[in-house]
């Protein structure tokens, strides 16, 4: 009986080792960090947050060691008027994603703690219900060549 239990435990460990790692239930892809425009010190970041879990998740905060002030904002155009407002948190339904993209949601990177120029590494720390996701990217020039 004791031997049977040990065999079953070993089999369970072996089987679990064979199950492919599903990865974290949340992933950050398509990260683009753009340098500030002349006259401004604020950079902007775009990305895609995908929730592959079966639970709704909430991204409550995003930090960066390179910036003292990081805010989630959303630009809307209503009746032809462009407005930018802070967003407190981002809720992502199960098996869905939210895009931060030009003209919509975006991340404002303000008050840099050191010189950040095109080519500089920038780290983004996503705080959500189940932990922390860290993404490293490189700052790009604002205007890509056509």
């Amino acid at each position: 009986m004791k031997i049977t239990t040990q065999v079953l435990s070993l089999a369970a460990i072996f089987l679990s080792a064979c199950v492919p790692d599903p990865g974290p239930p949340v992933s950050i892809t398509d990260v683009k960090i753009l340098a500030p425009m002349p006259g401004s010190s604020a950079g902007v970041a775009y990305f895609k947050i995908e929730n592959r879990s079966e639970t709704t998740i909430t991204v409550s905060r995003i930090d960066s060691p390179q910036y003292n002030d990081v805010e989630m904002h959303e630009t809307t155009i209503e009746d032809g008027v462009s407005r930018m407002r802070p967003v407190e948190s981002i809720r992502i339904e199960p098996a869905s994603s939210v895009n931060f993209m030009p003209g919509e949601k975006h991340l404002m990177l303000m008050r840099p703690s050191a010189s950040v120029v095109p080519g500089s590494p920038v780290t983004l720390e996503f705080h959500y219900d189940f932990g922390l996701l860290i993404v490293n990217a490189t700052m790009q020039n604002r205007l890509p060549s056509e």
Partner: protein
């Protein structure tokens, strides 16, 4: 019999004449290109007198707009995405039109954030787009003279972090050679819309 034939011949000629007239009318209307994206302002709207300054420190008034076509956008240099995106689209559209041998309009950014957008800041900002974009701004009352006449909204909006943004109309105005608003492009903007419609609008001025 002869009378009937004459009657039929007259009816035939009448129908042929009417059909020909309709065909000619449609041909004339169809030959006049129409903008596909922009909204033409019936009769155009002359702009009032106003006094602003461009990024080189030169006066910018209603007279500055006369004698050439212009595309005018209202924004500010701290605007994170829609302003640089629109100016980039306008610069690329002008570049494409120039390559195809088409006359291009001036591009003018009117900053609705004079508190932060000094001529020096505007100069650095507009030069970033590589084209000949002219940045202009001025005192709020002078800006209001222009924006009120053009139906442009702008309003400062405080942010919780302590900074501020500026809500503003995202329209691109097409100003004709007489300094009057001829048409407008509503947001969201595309390069193709400018490339397609600007020559049409400039040809119909």
């Amino acid at each position: 019999m002869s009378t009937t034939r004459k009657l039929l011949a007259m009816i035939f000629m009448l129908l042929a004449f009417t059909g020909g007239a309709v065909f000619m009318y449609q041909a004339i209307q169809g030959g006049r290109a129409q903008p596909a994206f922009a909204t033409v302002w019936p009769g155009s709207k002359p702009l009032p007198e106003f006094s602003l300054m461009d990024h080189s420190g030169n006066a910018f008034t209603r007279t500055s707009l006369q004698g050439k076509w212009s595309l005018m956008f209202f924004g500010f240099t701290h605007c994170p995405d829609i302003c640089p995106a629109t100016l980039q689209q306008l610069a690329i559209a002008n570049s494409r039109l120039t390559e195809s041998g088409t006359n291009v309009p001036d591009i003018i950014l009117v900053s609705v954030d004079p508190e932060r957008d000094s001529p020096e800041v505007m100069a650095a900002y507009v030069s970033h787009f590589g084209g000949d974009i002219r940045g202009v701004t001025g005192d709020i009352p002078e800006l209001r003279k222009l924006t009120s006449a053009a139906g442009i909204f702008f309003e400062k909006s405080e942010l919780p972090s302590g900074g501020y943004s500026v809500d503003h109309s995202a329209v691109v105005l097409v100003i004709n050679e007489n300094g009057a608003i001829h048409a407008s492009f509503g947001a969201p903007h595309t390069i193709d819309a400018f490339v397609n419609d600007v020559p049409v609008l400039m040809g119909s001025g």
